[in-house]
Amino acid sequence: MKKKAFSPWVILGIVLVTLFAVLCVLPLIYMVAVSFTDSETLYIKLKDLRPSLYNYWYAIVKRDFGTALKNSIITVVGSCLLVDAASAMAAYGFEKKPVPGKEALFQGYLATMMIPGQVVLIPMFVMINRAGLTNTYAALILPMVGAFGIFLMRQFMVAVPNELLEAAEIDGCGELRRFVTIVIPLVQPALITLTIFTFNAAWNNFLWPLIINTRSEMRVLPVTMSTLASNSTTNYGMVMAGATLTFLFPFILYIFLQKQFVEGIALGGVKG
């Protein structure tokens, strides 16, 4: 074994990586720091910092962040449940059932993954509007189902042993029960991955909610955030409090589910 490499180059590398990591979080630390000041200038001195939640109180109560937070949570939870259920079911159907023409359909699904959001934006606006679904959670949740989730789930469905399903069927286990009690637990890691992807997409979605849910009681966090920022250009403390609120939920989730986050993306990336 060679000597553990602590050459100057490696040390330089470690310093550079550390520096980059610091650059990654510095804006966020700054964001939180400014959210605790009530100064309208950007020259923040330590004495301006105070452990006051005034900016947060103001953003939540006076600037609709409470409503937006509620809407975002409902949208995200709804999206995750729908996407997980629909994708797992479809993947199961595609992989384990002898549906005629399924491979061609699957290829068609994969092709839709390349469609840029801007292409479908206008017709979707027209359709949702005609259907009278503007300013509803459905308008935000239903379009979240896409080929990516089905594709991801199918990768895992392959690993579900057919023998297990057949044995269960012989034991008199019904179709739906087999799916819920055998298949779902086996693909659980993939479901967690998909949940994380869907969470990220639904939480950060901006342009679609901006144009489709125009009423203030139906706005989601990024839209309220954007309005707040353009309405109060100089009240930096409050704007940063809003940004912090937007960031807080994914961040807490990230802390608890860090491994799944990272593995999920690696998996989705490497396989996709």
Binding site: L42, Y43, P143, A147, F206, L207, T246
Partner: protein, 301 residues
């Protein structure tokens, strides 16, 4: 093609039942995908041949919208900016994430290294709108934290978003800040997939780390690099949120991008037909990128 015989073959009652059940499983997502992914494409294609302001019914005008694509100065500028934006972000985030991932995998396989990975990933979870808002405040020409720092070092203040030469790179920097962690994670997983005996063999052969990186790691990571570059190009081609929130396309039109002009043409100029034509062209460009990439990929494999 392989599915055709199975359709024609007489199905046993059991198989038919299973097929029906399978169709039942596929149906919910199928219906939603038909409504929200497939129908809009055809509608978009239809709108692209019309004059449509959403308040009155679309009027068929044939290829008029497409004919006007090539003479539109605003669109040309947007395309130009988008290409520059892609040329700044994609190489930067690819190289950065690759170097960091490989370095951490080689030299920092300890708790500190995994902590660094976690930290570098954090910007990924910040929403684009929040990122744009925070960076906007940091970029402020007077008193923004970055300029405070520059002044502290004795430099002049820089007008990041208000000067033509700076605006696009400043927006791109935020995208790089936000994207590097994501690709780093994918690269890291790829490096970890490199069979350890391959690397150990190289170490025994006395290859230096640079040689190992160049002759072993990089070739093995090639498929991942292709994927990351493609994802990066497609993602950057559609940049909207950052531009909308940070510069509104300005100053002048120096940060107009393709996605931003589609929004402008449609929702501001109320020219939904023309915007659809641009969107359809965007779809074609993205399909082309994909095709070229997969051809390239197959050739190299």
């Amino acid at each position: 093609m392989s599915t055709v015989p199975s359709v024609k073959r007489k199905m046993s009652p059991r198989t038919r039942r299973q097929a029906l059940i399978g169709a039942g499983y596929i149906a919910p997502s199928f219906i939603l995908m038909m409504i929200f992914n497939v129908t809009p494409i055809f509608l978009s294609a239809y709108f692209s041949f019309t004059k449509y302001n959403m308040a009155s019914p679309p009027v068929w005008i044939g290829l008029d919208n497409y004919a006007r694509l090539f003479t539109n100065r605003v669109l040309t500028e947007a395309l130009n900016n988008t290409v520059w934006y892609v040329l700044i972000t994609v190489p930067a985030q690819t190289v950065l994430s690759l170097l960091i991932a490989v370095f951490i995998a080689e030299h920092m396989k300890n708790r500190y290294g995994s902590f660094m990975r976690s930290v570098i990933f954090i910007p990924v979870i910040v929403s684009l709108i929040a990122s744009a808002t925070v960076w906007n405040i940091m970029y402020q020409p007077k008193g923004g934290i970055i300029n405070q720092f520059l002044n502290f070092l004795g430099f002049e203040s820089v007008n990041f978003l208000g000067k033509k030469a700076n605006a696009l790179p400043s927006v791109a920097a935020v995208a790089i800040w936000k994207g590097t962690g994501y690709y780093m994670v994918i690269y890291y997983a790829g490096v970890m997939n490199v069979p350890s005996d391959v690397r150990e063999a190289a170490i025994v052969d006395g290859a230096s780390s640079i040689q190992r990186f160049w002759y072993i790691t990089l070739p093995i990571l090639k498929p991942i690099t292709y994927m990351i570059v493609t994802l990066g190009i497609i993602g950057s081609f559609q940049v909207f949120d950052l531009v909308y929130k940070m510069t509104g396309g300005g100053p002048g039109r120096s940060t107009y991008t393709v996605a931003y002009v589609i929004y402008t043409f449609a929702f501001q100029d109320k020219n939904y037909g023309y915007a659809s034509a641009v969107a359809i062209c965007l779809l074609i460009v993205i399909l082309l990128i994909h095709t070229v990439q997969s051809l390239f990929f197959k050739e190299k494999d």
